[in-house]
């Protein structure tokens, strides 16, 4: 490990400046639960770490136009303390809370989990299904992007070298809507998703699904928004036939690899199973959210 410069800016502007100055050799440090491990293992080279935890607005959860602006460095433990958030976006939170252990939850952030670029990141399918956006600061100013447009491949993002995520923005929760995230791991905890599936759906007064978003993790080079799977639910009462169609569409969207964590065949099948099970939980939550 070579020598590394550490910067702890107190403002977004100062952070952008530090990133810009490093000309692509900087890494953004939030909780560090991925980055520090990667640095130690020699998998990541950086000459500058820009610690964004000391920027006050990155540590705040704000209600905004009925939705939420979650600072990119807010930890899982902090977000989990909000009963209101838990009741509103349980699927987003349950994905976030699956990351690591209790100790890791004290550090791990939504922004970090997204920008680490892992196709298996547990919080990302939930954010995509929720229709979340991110606010990005950079040398050329601030921009908004959809969560599904951030990760472009394993370890890769669409962020420019001077850019970093300031907040994750969740829209206003519609009535009679609910979300859920499920992942498959061979153990019960302390593991990385072999398959992840998130479903967010909205019902009308008669119980017919009017809107849905389905996202999958760990089954392709990046987290996927599966429009065909969502389409299978819209216009149905989320009955068995709709769920079968959802599962088939989820499996069909998979483009996984064989590796030490699972096979192509396994991931493809289980993606359908989990999408179906997540949809049932989301349905239950939507019915309760009348």
């Amino acid at each position: 490990m070579a020598e590394i410069q550490y910067a702890a800016p107190a403002t977004v502007a100062a952070a952008v400046k530090a990133l810009d100055a490093a000309k692509g050799k900087a890494k953004v440090l939030a909780g560090g639960t991925d980055l520090l491990v990667q640095l130690r293992a020699g998998r990541v080279n950086a000459n500058t770490l820009v610690d964004i935890k000391h920027i006050p607005e990155l540590r705040k959860v704000k209600k905004d136009k009925g939705g939420y602006r979650i600072g990119a460095a807010v930890s899982g433990a902090e977000l989990g303390e909000s009963d209101d958030f838990r009741a509103t976006w349980p699927g987003v939170l349950e994905g976030f809370e699956l990351i690591g252990s209790t100790q890791i939850q004290g550090r791990a952030s939504l922004g970090g989990n997204l920008c680490n670029g892992s196709p298996a990141a547990d919080s990302v399918p939930g954010m995509i299904a929720a229709g979340a956006t991110v606010t990005i600061a950079g040398a050329k100013g601030t921009r908004e992007a959809k969560v599904e447009d951030i990760v472009t491949g394993p370890g890769k993002t669409s962020l420019k070298p001077s850019e970093f995520v300031v907040s994750i923005n969740l829209p206003k929760r519609a009535k009679r809507s609910g979300d859920a995230y499920l992942r498959f791991i061979p153990r019960t905890e302390m593991d990385i998703a072999v398959v992840g599936a998130a479903v967010n759906l909205t019902l009308d007064a008669k119980g017919v699904c009017t809107d849905a978003r389905v996202a999958l993790g760990a089954v392709a080079p990046k987290p996927l928004l599966v429009k065909a799977a969502a389409k299978a639910l819209v216009g149905t009462k989320v009955d068995d036939a709709a769920l079968d169609a959802l599962a088939a569409a989820a499996s069909a969207a998979c483009d996984p690899i064989d590796d030490k964590r699972g096979t192509i065949e396994f991931r493809t099948k289980v993606a359908g199973v989990l999408a179906r099970r997540a949809a049932l939980i989301a349905l239950e939550r939507a019915r309760k959210n009348a």
Partner: protein, 763 residues
């Protein structure tokens, strides 16, 4: 977790018979360990210490053409670089060492490769530098030129006649006449009783099946670590975490070409070994680096190094055929197995052959094993080496036999259970054993009699382990105030400080809080074999009992002297010298005698140096309930009970801990643990993230039922208990899963992708 009621219990003879034995005092090493004060291998730092780092092969199989250390040596801060050229070249030849035989030739080549790299992670060179960072940079500057060879990764590839040879000229041992052509099969072993063909001819039902398992690691938490220093006159001191300070001393002496008297080994606390620390990896390198640099050298492995380069245990494959009468009487059993030894001969396949069918009284049997070398790290001992895989094969076949007979698998085992007088496949007839008692305890358990739900299955399996005795030394010294120090030469892995203190207290008739146990260095206690083979509580315990009895005799002598009576007139009772048949003398406590020791002949201490015979074999029976998710292949262990004949449980909590720990490791072995290699032979899962041992939330509380059938070979009836508990779980889990899905699971690990494919396969 469904079984709120605590099921742990002790059944049998020991209960209430003793004053200290069978109680559950706090362990003497407990406070230091839970407060982080205990010093493990990596905790020691000494003045002027520098840091060692190993350069490891990135290839599974390669010729080493050249090693250029110039650039590394030129780096400021680098104090020494070593290669195999710095060590004596040792000739072939095996020596017996506890449970396994040791070839110093192979051991020296495991510690540092000479002409060939034989696995990903094989040590090629080592450097020592003033900081770990400089050492790491220097390691990268060492230029090794390899000629990469085709890797041989599995027993099947290795046994192919066209396979590349790991060792040119290796002729299979144990085959007559000896083969002319060399092969990757290092040895064949066979054990047999009776007439196999006649036995199968007698059978009315025959089952036969093939099974396979993968390489697994012991998974100890503490990576290997040591510090070595060498004085200007060639005296070495080694601080190391290991399963035996005398083992480290002997191996370092041989590998470094030194006299034993010139090496002192100070044992650190050990953070788990399970057999994997019965060999040396870093210590000889650290001594050589210390010698070359003139500085103390510390070496600590990373987890990656632990997985790539230290002792896993063999993956294996086998076929088992069992024949029986319709009433369940087994008439014949035939077992054939291939174990992957790793890069050098010495898989535990022979021990697998000796243990697989041993829970049963089978008149006609044969067990054949092949020891096959492959380009993986050399197998080291792992809890009951060889037995779990053999038990998986045999106990799964037993389960299939029970299914075919329409018989309860527990009753089938009861019908054929080995008893006192049964002849074991490896020769001896058993003395008192408690195998049948474990089955009866299982049958009577709440667990066995609880109904199951949908997608759930129950498995039962048994297991056997020899347990060994061997060389042990101990001393017991009486302090001036009547407290006592007991000294042993075995690292405390499974609570031996507690059990030694308790046995000492039992003999002396005093409270265990008055006994302080000490694990001493190689110059403070005479030789003891390493901690392994479930030998310490038995053999070192026997030495401790004898040493304490020696003290009692001296205490009686001193009392006799004070009272001016014959020693035969003095008995030792409840920690007091009491005059027999008279109340003329006030009894003398141990503290009274200690206080007056100076006036009655000087300090009092006892010692014993023994080679303990009479180790009692151990048997266990485990019950496992699982629930399988039929859509994902996920297996949840719902309930688990481990039952074992433990002889006498000195400290029942630690005995229960052994049963629980063995079961947990066995469940991991069955469900998710495996070495995953790339096509090129590189290990892909070199950390605990992807080498999946069970985490606490994966397991239910494991209930332990201790059956006490005292070992006639020990004064308190002790049997070794540490290894038996890992023998049954593989089959107990596999049998449970097989019943849950209605198909035979015959390949470990039962990882979800494999199981889901099995569930969805036809037939």
């Amino acid at each position: 977790m469904g079984n709120e009621e605590k099921q742990n219990k002790v059944l049998g003879e020991g209960k209430g018979k003793y004053r200290v034995i069978g109680t559950r005092p706090v362990r003497p090493d407990g406070v230091d360990k839970v407060t982080g004060k205990a010093n493990f291998g990596a905790d020691l730092n000494v003045a002027d210490m520098i840091h060692g780092r190993v350069v490891r092969s990135p290839h599974a199989h390669a010729k080493i053409k050249s090693i250029n250390v110039k650039k590394a040596l030129a780096l400021p801060g680098v104090k020494a670089v070593i290669t195999a050229a710095d060590f004596p070249e040792l000739g072939p030849g095996d020596i017996a060492a506890g449970e396994v035989t040791v070839s110093f030739h192979d051991m020296s080549l495991t510690v540092i490769a000479r002409k060939k790299a034989l696995y990903d992670g094989h040590a090629i060179a080592a450097v020592a530098a003033t900081t770990p960072e400089i050492a790491a940079r220097a390691a990268e500057l060492i230029e090794v030129e390899y000629q990469v060879l085709k890797p041989v990764m599995t027993w099947k590839q290795a046994m192919d006649p066209t396979a590349p040879l790991l060792h040119e000229g290796q002729i299979t041992k144990g085959v007559k006449p000896a083969p002319e052509k060399p092969s990757n099969v290092a040895a064949r072993s066979e054990f047999a009783l009776g007439d196999l063909a006649a036995g199968f001819a007698e059978a009315e039902v025959i089952v036969e099946h093939e099974f396979s398992t993968e390489t697994v690691h012991q998974g100890y938490i503490e990576p290997h670590a040591c510090v070595a220093s060498m004085s200007a006159d060639g005296m070495a001191t080694v601080w190391a975490s290991s399963q035996g300070q005398f083992m480290v001393r002997a191996y370092v002496a041989k590998l470094c070409g030194m006299d034993i008297s010139k090496i002192k080994v100070i044992p650190a606390e050990i953070g788990g070994g399970f057999g994997g620390k019965t060999v040396v990896y870093l210590e000889p390198l650290a001594v050589a680096l210390a010698k070359k640099s003139g500085r103390p050298v510390k070496m600590v492995m990373t987890r990656d190094e632990v997985f790539r380069a230290t002792g896993p245990t063999s993956g294996g494959h086998g076929r088992c055929k069992i024949g029986a009468k319709k009433d369940g009487t087994i008439t014949a059993a035939d077992l054939e197995m291939e174990y992957e030894a790793g890069a050098f001969p010495g898989s535990p396949v022979m021990l697998g052959c000796m243990t697989g069918t041993t829970p049963y009284d089978i008149k006609n049997m044969r067990a054949v094993g092949y020891d096959v070398v492959v380009n993986r790290p050399k197998a080291a001992a792992y809890r009951a080496p060889g037995a779990p895989v053999a038990a998986f094969i045999v106990e799964s076949t037993m389960d299939m036999l029970a299914d075919k007979l329409g018989m309860c698998p527990l009753e089938l085992r009861l019908k054929n259970a080995a008893k006192e007088g049964t002849k074991a496949p490896y020769g001896p007839k058993f003395l008192a054993i408690g195998y049948e008692d474990t089955l009866l305890a299982a049958k009577a358990s709440k667990h066995w009699n609880t109904p199951l739900g949908p997608n759930q299955g129950r498995g039962i399996a048994s297991g056997f382990w020899f347990n060994i005795g061997g060389n042990s030394s101990a001393s017991v010294a009486l302090n001036e105030d009547g407290t006592v120090i007991v000294v042993e030469g075995n690292p405390d892995i499974g609570g031996s400080r507690a059990s030694m203190a308790m046995m000492t207290a039992e003999v002396l008739g005093i409270d265990v809080s008055r006994v302080k146990p000490l694990v001493a260095d190689t110059e403070s206690v005479p030789y003891s074999d390493l901690t392994g083979g479930s030998r310490v509580t038995f053999a070192t315990g026997k030495a401790v009992v004898e040493a304490a009895q020696d003290v009692v005799k001296q205490l009686r002598q001193r009392a006799a002297k004070i009272w001016e009576v014959d020693i035969d007139q003095v008995e030792w009772k409840d920690g007091m010298a009491v005059a027999i048949e008279t109340d003329k003398y006030k009894p003398l406590s141990i503290a009274d005698i200690a206080r007056m020791a100076g006036k009655t002949g000087g300090p009092i201490s006892g010692k014993a140096n023994i080679n303990a015979a009479g180790a009692g074999p151990g048997f266990g029976t485990h019950i496992c309930d699982v629930e399988v998710d039929p859509e994902t292949g996920y297996v949840k262990v719902l309930r688990y009970t481990a039952i074992q004949d433990v002889g006498t449980a000195i400290h029942p909590s630690y005995v229960e801990g052994q049963l629980q720990g063995g079961a947990a490791q066995g469940i991991g072995w069955a469900l998710n643990e495996e070495y995953v290699y790339s096509k090129e032979g590189n290990l892909l899962n070199t950390g605990f993230l992807d080498y999946r041992v069970p985490v606490a939330s994966d397991l239910p509380m494991i209930d332990a039922i201790l059956v006490e059938c005292p070992n006639p070979g020990h004064p308190y009836g002790v049997r070794g208990v540490g290894e038996v508990p890992i023998v049954p779980p593989l089959a107990a889990v596999a049998n449970a899963v097989s019943h849950a899905i209605g198909k035979r699971v015959d390949s470990l690990p039962i990882s979800p992708p494999k199981l889901l494919a099995k569930i969805q396969s036809k037939g």
